[in-house]
Amino acid sequence: MQIPHEVTANPETGLYNAKVGIWLFLASEVMLFGGLFSSYVFLRLGADFPWPFHELKVLPGFINTMVLIASSVSVVTAWAALKARRYGWYQVNMVFTLLCAVAFMGIKTYEYYHKFVHYTVHFTDHSVISGHPVHESAEHHGDRIAFAAEAITLDLEKSNLEFLAGRRENKGGKEPYADPGDSPLKVTLPDTINAETKAVTPGETIDLTESWFKQKHRAFMDAKTELRKTVTDLELQKPRITPHDDAAAKAEKEEKIAAINDSIKAANDAFDAKGKEHNLTPTLKLTLAKGGDGKVIPVPFLAKERSVIKYGAAELNYRENTLLSGKLITDAIQFNVDIVDLRSTRDPEKSLVWKHLGSELKTRFLKYRDDKIAEFHEHRPKVANPEQDEDCRREAFRVEFADNDGKFMSEEEAHKFLHEPEHTISIPRSEKLFYSNFSPSLSPYYAIYFLMTGLHGLHVVGGAIVLAWFLFTGRKMYLRNPEHLANRVEVGGLFWHFVDLVWIFLFPLYYLM
């Protein structure tokens, strides 16, 4: 079916139909992004925390602005080239536009990646540091909870052995958390008790593998299902005592109920006995291999905090219901500091962050702060107490060691310096209020940043796909009716300009203000 008014104007609107369609769509887009921009303003003005200001690196955003402006010029030139019947020029400009789209998304990906690998720690006194957790390695536990396990209690119903991913091997010296490789974890099962003779057989030593656990889990679940079925059948056989029953009938029913209850208890006892005989109890306590002195050799585990429900000096309980017994090695977070933010603390030198910083970083912080306060005082002499001024605090009490216009040292030197082992700090988890990478979960600022820039990025990808379609399949249409292709490119171009237009607001709002 031929779509009417694809090339010529519709007499009712004076425009070809696709143009009316794209403008209706763009109007809906204005409402979508308008809603998000108003949400941004709402979040910013209502924020109960210092709203990030000049925290995003400007250069990537600036380059992306240039890239989008260049692509806007090229896409409108591509359309003009079609109107002038210059197909070669059209192709050149469209290819350039698509390269700009690829460059934009590449830079965006680079920015996102860096946000996900950088972390921030908010201390309980609201002092803040940002940087990198030390990479977990043979030498370091990184940001994991380190625990020396002597016994493992598995929940045969709920455990899934995911905790084994955090298992390490203590090779002594500088390698307390070495990768155990493919060597399976040897564990000793609990002693079994024969159901009839009550004879105790010492538990065998096995390799704790997924296949072993799956088999055990299935056997336990089968036995439990069988028990439930038996108990349900018995429960259904229980007679109902009604108010109409006479004394004899009631006594008879009660006798039957008591007999059934005995049968249920017997079924449960049989289940327990079978469990003890075949190691199919709901929880299974496994002991780890012993050394020559008869003592258990502890196995180190590094647990992600979010995979743990609770832990203490002697126990660590995973969400999957596996329990490690032994000794907590450390729950401190090993961290390399890039940024210190002491805006929200009364006295920086009494903050929790301060006691962890090395003397060199402290000296640099104080020098930077004093320089900035003096600079602020010079620019705004009317402000009586610069240290209490919000703008001054933002500039002077948040120090980015690796990026201060080369004030301390070059960015490269600073990173090398900050990542030296002696500048690694150890943060006890008890001092931590919040720990996160720069992802949407960090603050409403990053939530709306990722929402808006992510949605904008999707628009870039969508627009690029449409323009690429016109580029690679447009020749036939051009030869048949060049004006038809010109109209299509105009419509695609309008969308592309809208994408540019949104970015023109996003760039200053997020990178500059």
Binding site: V7, T8, A9, T13, G14, L15, Y16, K19, V20, W23, L24, L26, A27, S28, V30, M31, G34, G35, F37, S38, V41, F42, L45, G46, D48, F53, H54, F62, T65, M66, I69, A70, S72, V73, V76, T77, A80, A81, K83, A84, R85, R86, W89, H379, R380, D391, E483, A486, N487, E490, G493, L494, H497, D500, L501, I504, F507, P508, L512, M513
Partner: protein, 119 residues
């Protein structure tokens, strides 16, 4: 700028009418360079100009952004010479946006909510 005027008319008045490509490219390049220049100015204002209050810097940054957006809309999107139907369509979208901001203002100025939020 005139060439853009010509193009937009050609897009809905006379579709087979060819345009002067060189003139169009010159116009678009001029607009592109203006946009880039104002991007530099925005960054400069944000980092190097202290207007005494950061809110003034924010306001200036937004005014520059609005100017850049109007250039894109008027020249690249041909809104300068578009049909009334499109203006009406956009008007409804902007009324919606203004409504959103108005709702936000109501919430922000709500004395009852503020009594909880701000001690």
């Amino acid at each position: 700028m005139d060439s853009a005027h010509d193009h937009s008319h050609s897009s809905h008045d006379d579709h087979d009418h060819p345009i002067d490509l060189a003139k169009s490219i010159r116009t678009y390049l001029k607009v592109g360079i203006t946009l880039i220049a104002f991007t530099f100015i925005t960054v400069f204002v944000a980092y190097k100009v202290d207007l005494g209050d950061k809110h003034l810097n924010i306001a200036l940054g937004l005014i520059i952004a609005a100017f850049k957006v109007s250039l894109v809309g008027l020249i690249f999107m041909h809104l300068k010479h578009e049909r009334g139907l499109i203006y009406k369509t956009l008007l409804f979208a902007f009324i919606f946006f203004a409504g959103m901001m108005f709702l936000f203002c109501l919430a922000y100025m709500d004395p009852i909510a503020n009594s909880f939020l701000k001690p």
